[in-house]
């Protein structure tokens, strides 16, 4: 401390070593002291208090039991139940308490029927289970099973009947794709989920809304302290902290419309999507054929699963969300509007249709539907009669870059952003897309057929409905969504979920919009409209557009050789899009049929049935007085 000044600058290593040595000795003394103190503590617990702790260990029969939260319910917009929880019973096994698992299963099967699938899944679950946690063996026991087991219970230590809530979908196949289903948690789910929150939970949302809103629907688990006997069977509940149930959700879908759409498709494979253009609420979203989601809840049997997988109609494919289709002529109103908005055409400009169109300097012909041509047509007739030549020329004038930039404004080529997982993007034809996909340059002929929705085009029914809704709302886009409201607990009021904000409008001139609307009205009400007669008896004006997309190019001769409808149906996809009331649209529908002869004959009547279904859901008084809107 008070060293002479000259020593300050010299390191005295010998002194430092000695200092270090003395500090190490002090330090080691402290260490020994600490360890002795620790040992004394162990002595206190393990010797002095040993008897008391042994008793407590033996009496340590208080088990912490996790209580899974009841899952939130799913309703349609009017409160129709789409997914509910129903009480059920299942058999659970604590593997540690079973001496001979094979013998036990064999004897148990004589008391309660066990399917091969039950046993297989149980054995799989056994591999993942945590010690002294029970493993479910059979779900959905009926009363006979329970009674028979109760009598024989003494023979099966470690096996018990446990009540639980199982998921049920009352409207089954109508909502198989949208609502989805829950299934037993498997190894894949274990990676993503929060272990604390899922302690005690056996099921998790696997698809559709059940999956997308899993975190809303699941809720927070509770726990209870249970006193158990020496066999680990619970004797009484000491303390209970109730779980917090998951939030119930209200969908924007109207179950009546959903049913009407599914029934309208009948036995045709296809999809229907209906959207409220004013806000993007999805009113119906159907993919046909569906399947019974209830099969999946407690583990689908291998034979049921195989049957569904082998079905050539592909019931698992959600056509509305993931099915990609060539949109065909349904693109014409959009492209026609583009021609007006980009200043390439005025509504009254006419084009001469001769039945075939040639690119300048090219001998390859592009056909019209009417082989003799439709004569001089303006935009209204071009849309109303679906005249290809008008759009061949327009697309050629527009060029692919402007065309794809314009169509991108309606959401083509990108997911719509709906609240469901796994949406397909489809294909918006563009130079960049083709180079990225095929590494090849763009050819002018490809622009021409892109003008009528053929070629590389691929859209999902949802994208089509969404684009139509944007068009119907005069160019203002709303992200399509399914969640309308949520509710906390059974007795609370639903809280509305604010819809996503609308995008800025894409149409600059309202006159242009009206010109396209006139064309779409001509489809339904024109003398030679491709869906004429469709609006008969409907109180509102319907604006629509047919589409018939092919797998073969119009330039091939195969087109001429198969004129009969049966053969056409094999090659065609029939489409129809419509919105109504035309002057103030409240619903926009897209119908896509996998195999249909023509959009006008196959898809349009389905759309009409959907619109009739929608009309039935509208307030009665309104429907009766609205006849003024019919037939402009």
């Amino acid at each position: 401390m008070n060293r002479p000044a000259q020593q300050r600058h010299i390191k005295d290593t010998r002194h430092e070593a000695a200092l270090f040595r003395s500090r190490v000795i002090v330090g080691f003394a402290l260490i020994v002291l600490g360890l002795v103190a620790l040992l004394a503590r162990f002595y206190w617990l393990q010797v002095v208090q040993h008897r008391e702790f042994t008793t407590r260990a033996q009496q340590n029969r208080v088990h912490l039991r996790h209580l899974p939260p009841p899952r939130g319910l799913i309703y349609d917009r009017n409160g129709v139940l789409l997914a509910e929880n129903v009480p059920a019973f299942r058999l659970e096994v604590v593997p540690e308490r079973v001496k001979d698992m094979d013998a036990m299963l064999q004897q148990l099967a004589a008391v309660v029927p066990l399917s091969a699938d039950d046993v297989t899944q149980f054995r799989q679950a056994l591999k993942q289970h945590r010690s002294f946690q029970s493993v479910p063996l059979r779900f959905s026991l009926d009363e006979t099973d329970i009674a028979r087991f109760a009598v024989n219970r003494w023979r099966f230590p470690g096996v018990d009947v446990v009540p639980y809530l199982t998921r049920r979908y009352p409207l089954g196949r109508y909502f198989a794709h949208v609502v989805g289903y829950v299934g037993r948690i498997d190894a894949d789910d274990l990676d993503h989920k929060d272990e604390e929150r899922y302690a005690g939970t056996t099921h998790i949302g696997k698809s559709g809304i059940e999956r997308y809103y899993e975190s809303l629907l699941h809720g927070d688990p509770g726990y209870e302290l249970v006193e158990v006997n020496a066999d680990q069977r619970p004797l009484r509940v000491l303390e209970r902290h109730a779980p917090h149930p998951g939030r119930s959700v209200y969908l924007t879908i109207d179950a009546r419309l959903q049913k009407a759409a599914m029934d309208a498709l009948g036995d045709r494979a296809g999809a229907v999507v209906a959207i409220d253009p004013r806000n993007g609420e999805v009113l119906a979203m159907v993919s046909n054929p569906g399947f019974d989601p209830n099969l999946f809840v407690n583990g689908i049997s291998q034979s049921d699963y195989d049957a569904l997988m082998r079905d050539p109609a592909k019931p698992f494919l959600d056509r509305a969300l993931r099915g990609v289709y060539p949109p065909g002529s349904t693109m014409k109103p959009f492209i026609g509007l583009g021609g007006l908005e980009l200043g390439l055409r005025r509504p009254e400009d006419t084009v001469l249709s001769t039945g075939v169109y040639y690119l300048p300097g090219d001998s390859r012909g592009y056909r019209d539907d009417d082989r003799n041509g439709s004569g001089r047509v303006d935009l209204r007739l071009a849309i109303g009669h679906s005249v290809n030549t008008y759009f061949y020329m327009l697309a050629h004038d527009m060029g692919i870059d402007r065309l794809s930039r314009w169509m991108a404004k309606f959401g083509f080529g990108a997911p719509t952003g709906i609240d469901l997982a796994g949406e397909a993007s489809g294909v918006l034809p563009s130079r960049e897309w083709k180079r990225a996909r095929f590494g090849k340059p763009w050819f002018p002929g490809e622009t021409v057929i892109a003008g009528i929705g053929q070629g590389f085009w691929a859209v999902t029914p949802l994208q089509l409905a969404n684009a139509l809704a944007t068009l119907a709302d005069r160019g203002v886009g709303h992200v399509p969504h399914l969640l309308m409201a949520t509710r906390d607990g059974i007795h609370a009021h639903p809280e509305a979920v604010p819809p996503p904000p609308p995008s800025p409008g894409v149409i600059a001139d309202a006159g242009n919009w009206r010109a396209v609307e006139q064309g779409m009205l001509a489809v339904v009400y024109g003398d030679r409209g491709t869906a004429r007669g469709l609006g008969d008896g409907f109180p509102y004006a319907i604006a629509g557009k047919t589409g018939t997309a092919e797998r073969y190019s119009r330039t091939t001769s195969a087109y001429d050789n198969h004129a009969d409808l049966q053969a056409l149906a094999q090659r065609h996809r029939a489409l129809f899009i419509a919105f109504t009331p035309a002057d103030a649209p409240r619903i926009a529908v897209a119908v896509v049929v996998d195999q249909g002869a023509w959009g006008g004959t196959t898809a349009a009547p389905i759309a009409r049935q959907v619109l009739d279904g929608w009309l039935a859901t509208q307030p009665h008084a309104e429907a009766a007085t609205a006849s003024s809107g019919a037939r402009p």
Binding site: V24, G27, H50, R56
Partner: protein, 372 residues
Amino acid sequence: MISALRARLHRFLLRTMTRPRLDPPLIGALLLLAVVGLVTLYSAGDENVSLVMGQGLRFALGGALLVLASRLPPSLLRSWTPWFYLFSIALLVLVAVAGEGRGANRWLDLHVLRFQPSELLKLSVPMMVAWYLHPRQLPPRWRDLVAVAVIVAVPAVLIARQPDLGTALLVAAAGTFALFLSGLQWWRIGLVLGTLVAALPVAWHFLHDYQRQRVLMLLDPSSDPLGSGWHIIQSKIAVGSGGLLGKGWHQGTQSRLEFLPEHTTDFIFAVFAEEFGLIGVTLLIALYAFIVGRSLWIAMQARDTYSRLLGGAIAMSFFVYVLVNGGMITGILPVVGVPLPLVSYGGTSAVSLLAGFGVLMSAYAHRKLLDR
């Protein structure tokens, strides 16, 4: 050519035998401890072989690092020290920005492996303190004290904010030990300690709720038998019911029946105490005491200040891990999440501990010639 190689080999063997680079007693003790750790882990982890294999693999990695570090001359280690320190601080900052973990940002995901940079600091902080004190005249003065305080506080605060109070305190302790061993005068120590005690209420203010709760829990575990208290109560039952001789390997009901939480990591000592009793605990603590004692002895033989301070700090912090973990599972210290060295399951801790012993071995391999 061949004869030259043979001569080299001969020289190498001769040198290895006359002046082994690894201290056999310390290596033997560490090996024994690793075996005890794996055996306990096998029982605590429900006979999960892959768990034990994984831990064994980490021991192997740590062992390799140990051998590697022991070959580096202390002067080289010393010249790398500031860079190593800055590197580990940078990782801490990275974790704060891009880390992941359950409720706390402690982990860095390197795709191949995930690790806790805070474990690295247990080594780099005492290294940095030793590096700083090495050229100074000892005992250190106030100026040095301030510098060391900065070296220690920066990483400690970063870790405490993760939040991981336990590791932050241990990192701070490792740096402080180096300072203590450098011969900081007792009156200064007293003054600093006094100030710290006075500052405790302020620190309390900055603790997270769950950290406060754990400290409060210690005072009265029964006040929250389900939350933090559950850990302490069940751990004490495990230890107490083990008795003098223990229930035997694999026979610990507390962990088998899942009463004991975290029984492969922070609370593995309780499993050990339950299964091997006070006899086992005494032997294990004796083993730890031997390792610490031998390490301090090696530190005393070291040639320069840097090696001495670093070796001593490594040895003393090793002891602190044991003391804090033991105190935690017997309910005299708060549950702060400190693993039992080389016994608890966990990779980064085992690897960094063994690397630390490698640094110690380096000091041993390059010890003073006078003593021979």
